[in-house]
């Protein structure tokens, strides 16, 4: 490149310039040809050259792998030391060591935040330029993690619920009043979480009943899943039984009242059906039905 600049600056001196210019040009073309040759890699360099290049490449790969394995091991060690709350001694003060520490700290913090989330924490986030807080309410039933609901509360006094995606049959505003949200946000969220988890549990039970018990008909159900009427069929006589379940405590996943009736028979004397009524009150719906089916009481 320097050659090219030199060539152009000499153009002013015409006579001499022409000669120098010519010579520079030929120099340039020679260099360009050589460069082109190098790029193409030209004819296969000797086998030795090829082998040397491959060895270099593998060496780099090996070093990189060793480094990554080391880093992973060091991160593990750092994490163990951090959790043991021992004093972290930095034997090595290099930039690399500092970066490693930061990496370990980063993963530790992320894991702690995950723990909070899994423990049913409210995952509080500041939003709206720090003027509001957004909370997440997780629901789960029998190990299945179900829907997550969100609610945004404005921090200006008095506290106001800005928005949420909670279904209308859950009395959010009423709970806010009852639980004194103004003074105790966590108490309000706890109560809301109870209602949401109760609902999620009942909804899930109904879903499993529909999936696993085709012979049980759901005659009535409401959006809150707090009122259910099912129809069972007795296996031998094929008589129909009507079962109504009331869940008057909306925070619970089990019913408060269960009634089983049969048109043809009076079941109040039957010890078996008394037991079944109790079973339905003490056990999750889909499990109770499973047990009744296994013992041949219903289809």
């Amino acid at each position: 490149m320097t050659l090219r600049v030199a060539a152009y600056s000499k153009i002013n001196d015409t006579e001499n310039g022409d000669r120098i210019f010519e010579r520079s040009l030929s120099c340039l073309s020679f260099l360009e040809a050589r460069a082109r040759q190098k790029k193409i890699g030209a004819q296969p360099q000797s086998r030795t050259q090829e082998l040397k290049a491959k060895v270099e490449k593998l060496k780099k790969q090996r070093d990189r792998l060793r480094a990554e394995i080391d880093v992973n091991q060091n991160l593990q060690k750092l994490r163990s030391t951090m959790e043991g709350n021992e004093e972290l001694e930095m034997a090595d003060d290099s930039e690399n060591a500092k970066l490693l520490m930061l990496m370990a700290k980063h993963t530790q913090l992320k894991d702690a935040l995950l723990a909070h989330h899994l423990m049913g924490g409210y995952d509080v986030i500041k939003t709206n330029q720090d003027k509001s807080l957004c909370f997440s309410l997780a629901t789960a039933y029998q190990g299945n993690i179900l829907e997550t609901y969100n609610i945004e509360i404005c921090l200006s006094k008095p506290l106001r619920i800005l928005r949420h995606n909670i279904p209308p049959f859950i009395p959010v505003e009423a709970l806010a009043e009852e639980e004194n949200m103004q003074k105790n946000v966590r108490g309000f969220l706890d109560a809301l979480s109870l209602h949401l988890n109760g609902f999620a549990a009942r909804k899930q039970q109904l879903k499993l009943v529909k999936e696993r018990h085709a012979s049980v008909e759901v005659l009535e159900s409401n959006a809150l899943c707090s009122h259910l009427v099912l129809m069972f069929t007795k296996p031998k006589e094929k008589t129909a039984l009507l079962c109504s379940l009331e869940y008057s405590d909306h925070t619970r996943s089990l019913p408060t009242h269960v009634k089983i009736q049969c048109e043809e028979q009076d079941l109040s004397g039957s010890a078996q059906w008394q037991k079944n009524t109790q079973l339905l009150q003490d056990t999750p719906l889909h499990q109770a039905l499973e047990s009744m089916r296994k013992t041949g009481q219903i289809l």
Partner: protein
């Protein structure tokens, strides 16, 4: 020359294959989530060629992220009332059948084992479980299983039947909700007892120390006569937390004979009525005040 190089090449290739397997084995167990700045940092730390300026810049950026994460953690700790001491995760292989089922349905399944130890208002706990994730396109289904909970020994009694139920139903959320409520009630007890002891040190004593379930009220002029207040916080197997406060007078035989009717039976009932009207704190205050006025 060529032969030497070829030999070296073979040796290196074997080394690299071995190292790749080692790295895979590591990754199979460890579950570091490398992405964004963290991934970039991994690259820099592993390479020999990064410029010091690049390392410094990365360190600054990573420090910023770490600071933000620490702020976030503080907020969560305050909001959730629980302090996480450690959270360790490990990848776990799902059974071949589960993997096959998932793949047949067009999805994928992965699992990890999570172990969290923490403290809720001085009560330590350790929770371990398996978290499986089933992915179908953009939908994810998470399931918790194999739940195992260990609590500090001293509180195991009140919790044991609840714990076994919760472990069976894998209800992690219920466990923490109940734990928090239990701790809140115990804190109420501790505060009330501490307050009464500070105000009336000659009458009130806590035989079991700070976190005592029992508070004794006695007057120096009446040796041997003690009013025992037992404030128990119980957890039933469904996770309901209930406080109950009982008043038991302990009066020596010779003193009892001085009374016409039994003062003991009446006192417990009377205290219950007082509680219904004034609440626990009010009732206890009233009793202690009554005793201090007698002095």
């Amino acid at each position: 020359m060529e032969a030497e190089l070829e030999a070296e090449l073979q040796k290196l290739q074997a080394e690299v294959t071995d190292l790749e397997k080692q790295l895979q084995d590591q990754r199979r167990v460890m579950d570091f989530d490398f992405r964004g700045n963290l991934l970039h940092t991994l690259g820099v730390v592993c390479s020999q060629s990064a410029v010091p300026m690049e390392r410094q810049m990365l360190a600054l950026r990573l420090q910023e992220e770490v600071d933000e994460l620490e702020e976030d953690l503080k907020r969560q700790t305050q909001m959730n009332g629980i302090r996480v001491v450690s959270c360790r995760r490990r990848r776990e292989e799902e059974s071949l059948e589960k993997k096959a089922v998932a793949e047949r349905a067009g999805g994928s399944i992965s699992a990890q084992r999570v172990c969290v130890s923490g403290v809720c208002s001085e009560l330590s706990f350790q929770v371990e479980f398996k978290l499986s994730e089933l992915k179908f396109g953009s939908r994810t289904k998470q399931t918790l299983s194999d739940l195992n909970i260990v609590m500090e020994e001293s509180d195991l009694q009140s919790f044991s039947s609840f714990l076994s139920r919760v472990e069976e139903s894998q209800d992690l959320l219920l466990f923490f909700r109940t734990l928090r409520t239990f701790c809140e009630r115990c804190d109420e007890r501790r505060r009330t007892f501490a307050h009464l002891q500070t105000e009336h040190p000659s009458i009130v004593s806590l035989p079991e120390g700070q976190r005592s379930e029992v508070m004794t009220l006695s007057l120096p002029q009446l040796p041997g006569c003690v009013l025992l207040v037992h404030w128990s916080v119980q957890v039933n197997k469904e996770g309901g937390v209930k406080s109950s406060v009982e008043l038991l007078p302990k009066i020596p035989e010779n003193a009892l004979q001085l009374f016409q009717s039994s003062p003991v039976a009446g006192a417990a009932e009377a205290f219950h009525s007082l509680q219904r009207i004034l609440g626990v704190e009010g009732a206890l205050e009233t009793v202690v005040m009554a005793m201090s006025h007698d002095q």
